[in-house]
Amino acid sequence: MAEVHVIGQIVGASEFPENDLFCKWEAHFGPAWKRLQGEVSGQTQVDCPASGEMAYFAHPIDLHFATRGLQGWPKLHFEVFHYDWAGRSSLVGYGFAHVPSQPGLHKIDCVTWRPTGSFMDEVSSKFVGGGIQLKRPDLVYELHDRRNVHSTAGGKVHLELSVILRNFDKFGVEC
C-alpha cells in the first residue's frame, strides 16, 4: 500500500478587511484513500494581532493516509471567520488547497472568496453582522457548477506543509 503523510501547520491568514480571525478546516479525499491517523477537521485559535496584518493560527495538521490510487487526491478546505468585539463570528472567506503531490516542504498561499449578496444583504450585514454563507459548503472544493454564485475576493490562508510519500516508487508512480 502506498502511504502519504501530510504534516505541517495552518500558519495564519492575511489581507482580510479585518485582522481578528479564526479558521475552520476540513480534509476531503476520494474513495481510494483511507485515513489511517490524524484529525480530518478542526478549528483554530482566534488571533487578535497586536500589530500588522497577519493573524497567526499555528495550527498543526498531521494526517496519515493509505491509498490504492491517485484519484481523489486529498484536499484541505478552509472557512475563515472574523471574530468581532462582541464575540460574534462572520464568514469572510472560503478557500481550498490540494495537498501537494510532490514530497518536501511547501509554503502555500490559499486564496479565498466570500459570497456576495444583493445590495440590501451587504448593507444589513454591515449593521447587523454575520457574513453571507453558502448553503452547501461543498461547492468550495467539489467540481460543481458554480454559475449562480457571485463572489468577492477575500484574503489568503497561509500553509506550511511537508509531504512524505511511502512506496510510491514501488507502484511506478512518479511525484
Binding site: 504534516i7 485559535q45 482566534v46 497586536a50 497567526y56 498531521d62 510532490q102 514501488k170
Partner: protein, 204 residues
C-alpha cells in the same frame, strides 16, 4: 547507494532516526525588556527521544538598546529521535517568560513549530502569541491580581483539539535555525524530497 539501502531493508530496519541540531537565534518582542525561554518537545506515541534535553531553559535576555530592540539568545537545540512512523513528527514548543512589575513570573508568549521533515539546513521565523482573557472582567481582575492567562500545559499547542476555544494576541517573532539529518528513512521506503526515485532500481 542502492545496495546499502537494500541491505538495510533486508536486515529488517524497522525504525528510523531523526537528528536535529540548531539554535533559537533571537526573539523580537519589543514590548518586553526581560525575557527568558523554555523549550519542550511534543511528539506522537511512536516517537522516542534518545538524546537531548526534555526541557531547555535559556539565559535571561535584555532587549538591545538600539533601534532593533532585539533579544538575542543563540540558544542551542540538539535532539535525536527514533520512530517507526512519521505521524506525530516532533514539534518544538517554546514559552517566553518575563517578570511583571511586582516581580512575578509571567508568560509573555508561546510559539510552536515542527522540526524539519527534510534533511538540510533551514532558518525559520515563527510567530509568538499570548493567550487572552475570555472576558473584560477577567482581564481587569487579572491585571489587578497580577495573574496573566497561560496554558496549564504548553504541550497543548502541539495538537489541534481544544484550540478553538482559545483567544490569543500575536505580538512578536522568533528566529530559529536547524540542521537536520535522518537515518534509515530510505530503507523504510519513505520519500522525503522530490526527485528521489530509488525504489525501482533497488528492486532489480
Amino acid at each position: 547507494n542502492f545496495q546499502a539501502i537494500q541491505m538495510a531493508a533486508e536486515a529488517g530496519a524497522s525504525s528510523f532516526m531523526l537528528n536535529v541540531c540548531g539554535q533559537i537565534e533571537s526573539v523580537e518582542l519589543p514590548h518586553y525588556d526581560y525575557i527568558f525561554l523554555i523549550y519542550q518537545f511534543v511528539h506522537g506515541d511512536d516517537w522516542e527521544r534518545v538524546l537531548g534535553l526534555e526541557e531547555g531553559v535559556s539565559q535571561l535576555s535584555s532587549k538591545s538598546a538600539d533601534v532593533r530592540g532585539l533579544h538575542a539568545f543563540a540558544f542551542p537545540v540538539e535532539v535525536t529521535f527514533k520512530s517507526t512512523n512519521p505521524h506525530g513528527w516532533p514539534q518544538l514548543v517554546v514559552t517566553a517568560l518575563g517578570t511583571d512589575i511586582w516581580g512575578n513570573q509571567v508568560v509573555r508568549g508561546y510559539s510552536v513549530c515542527h522540526l524539519p521533515m527534510q534533511p538540510g539546513r533551514v532558518t525559520k521565523r515563527v510567530p509568538l502569541f499570548a493567550p487572552q482573557s475570555s472576558s473584560l472582567m477577567s482581564k481587569l481582575q487579572g491585571l489587578m491580581q497580577s495573574e496573566h492567562p497561560l496554558y496549564t500545559d504548553p504541550k497543548i499547542l502541539g495538537q489541534g483539539q481544544g484550540r478553538q476555544v482559545t483567544r490569543v494576541r500575536s505580538l512578536g517573532q522568533m528566529t530559529l535555525n536547524f540542521s537536520t539529518s535522518m537515518k534509515n528513512t530510505r530503507a523504510l521506503g519513505y520519500q522525503l524530497l522530490p526527485g528521489e526515485n530509488f525504489g525501482a532500481a533497488a528492486a532489480m
